[in-house]
Amino acid sequence: METDIVIKTEKLTKRFGDFIATNQITFDVQAGEIFGFLGANGAGKTTAMKMLCGLSTPTSGNATIAGFDIYRETEQIKKNIGYMSQKFSLYEDLTVLENINFFGGIYGLSKKRLSEKSESLIETLNMKELRKKLVGSLPLGWKQKLAFSVSILHEPKIVFLDEPTGGVDPVTRRQFWDLLYAAADRGITIFVTTHYMDEAEYCNRITMMVDGEIKALDTPKKLMQQYSSDSMDEVFYELARGAKRKAD
């Protein structure tokens, strides 16, 4: 059903001078899907993500995000998406509660809605004791779980996650993925990049970008069958080692 498609791109391209960072990528993402966006360093992932978030204007091609046009309706796009990365986190010198209130305010949540939301968020994350602690004092894994929850405070249609679990311990990394599953169950589409290949296997579908182009797009299972391998790590290696480009 067409209405269930939340990301639709058609030959989306971005050039920087002679350099084609993202070359005619075409794909659809369904509502509530966990969509893995993989590729070697320099494959063009970041450029593509920036365009999808409405932060960078494409050179050519078309795309709609949550039904909004990527050229003309970038402000609407920003209202309907969430974003978090390994680097941009929360304000370290604000407390857990202050961060929630701050971002809730930015997203335009009403006072009542925000206080309900922050209650349930703190409950889900088991952070009752930590609510008045400075975010900077939390372990990385907790920060990332909090950052993710904050990025979906406004119940966006899509959340973009750029290597959200880099360096996080193995137990917390799995708790993080539990949060992703719960959000996807509520219908939030998860668009995620990762260097952990076991996490790639948790995705419903995966794209592999090589040299600015989409070289593969399928379920992890089908990709593994296609490349006769037991793990996504091998699939990734097979696809990416042919890359000519090594720039970030």
Partner: protein, 308 residues
């Protein structure tokens, strides 16, 4: 011969005085490839900074090449190579200028030690006139390694050299480390990627400033206290929830396309019985296989035992 000796080193920061490094002891032999394996914030970087004489420990002693890290810091600095986790070369010097600069600092020349870095340097040589800040992640990492090697160190400290680097570059990097080991250089490397642990000769698994286990990767896997199984069904999300609700399953973790589980008590019929129970709950396409634990399984198990 021992090249790095660490005895009861502790270090804490800030007002809360939480120990970043807590009574850590280990030793690394000459020519060994030793891995510190643990997540961000577990104390790896503090340890590296202490051993490279950039940070003083609160207590404990350590030596590198037989030199004391406090008393003989000058001797140590002359002898070790250090590649910090954060890119720390001069971004507005070119590739070649950076290398030349570091060679000069150590009173040597690129030419004198070129044989040591040749295999790595040829890969970035086509870009030798490019500013270091303009290099890609993989190339920055190779240049940083060349700069850390240009004075022919006896011990090499590599702090998370592969973090944020893709699978292909990671594989290449570990190939380079093997070559360096062949040159007799002692290597201490840290990584948050558990799958890289098996590429080291010995590893220390670290969490919250404490070493949970030190041994060869094989031995650590061998010491896993239980049988571990990989389980699969058509609906993996529902399977995970069901496995977690079953009392006699003592651990259950998602591992890519499988969930890894251990039982509290088991006999030969236990796996079969589990399948029956799950099929009764409506699961289809079930599969259960006895497997060898991975280092990540061991790490999670040790974390549980250390009360995390």
């Amino acid at each position: 011969m021992v090249d790095v000796q660490v005895t009861n080193i502790s270090k804490s920061y800030g007002q809360e005085r939480q120990n970043a490094v807590d009574q850590v002891s280990f030793s690394v032999s000459k020519g060994e490839l030793f891995g510190l394996i643990g997540p961000d914030g577990c104390g790896k970087t503090s340890l590296f900074r202490i051993l490279t004489t950039l940070l003083l420990p609160d207590s404990g002693t350590a030596s590198v090449n037989g030199f004391d890290i406090v008393k003989d810091f000058r001797e140590i600095r002359r002898r070790v190579g250090y590649m910090p986790g954060k890119f720390s070369l001069y971004p507005d010097l070119t590739v070649e200028e950076n290398l030349h600069f570091f060679a000069t600092l150590f009173d040597t020349t690129i030419k004198a030690n070129y044989d040591l870095i040749k295999d790595i340097y040829v890969q970035i040589a086509p870009f030798k006139d490019r500013r270091a800040g303009k290099l890609s992640g993989g190339m920055k990492q190779k240049l940083a390694l060349c700069c850390a090697l240009i004075h022919r160190p006896t011990v090499l400290f590599l702090d998370e050299p592969t973090t944020g680097v893709d699978t292909v570059s990671r594989k290449e990097f570990w190939e380079m480390l093997k070559l360096l080991k062949g040159e007799g250089i002692t290597i201490l490397v840290s990584t948050p990627y558990m799958d890289e642990a098996t590429l080291c000769e010995r590893i220390a698994l670290i969490q919250k400033g404490t070493i949970m286990s030190i041994d060869t990767p094989d031995q650590i896997i061998h010491q896993f206290p239980k049988k571990i199984y990989a389980v699969m069904a058509r609906n993996m999300g529902a399977l995970l929830a069901d496995l977690r609700s079953i009392q006699h399953i003592s651990s259950c973790n998602a591992f890519g396309q499988y969930h890894h589980i251990t039982f509290q008590d088991e006999d030969v019929r236990t796996p079969r019985k589990l399948i029956e129970e799950l099929e009764y709950r409506g699961h289809v396409d079930m599969e259960i296989t006895l497997i060898d634990p991975t280092i990540e399984d061991c790490f999670i198990n040790l974390m549980d035992r250390h009360g995390n």
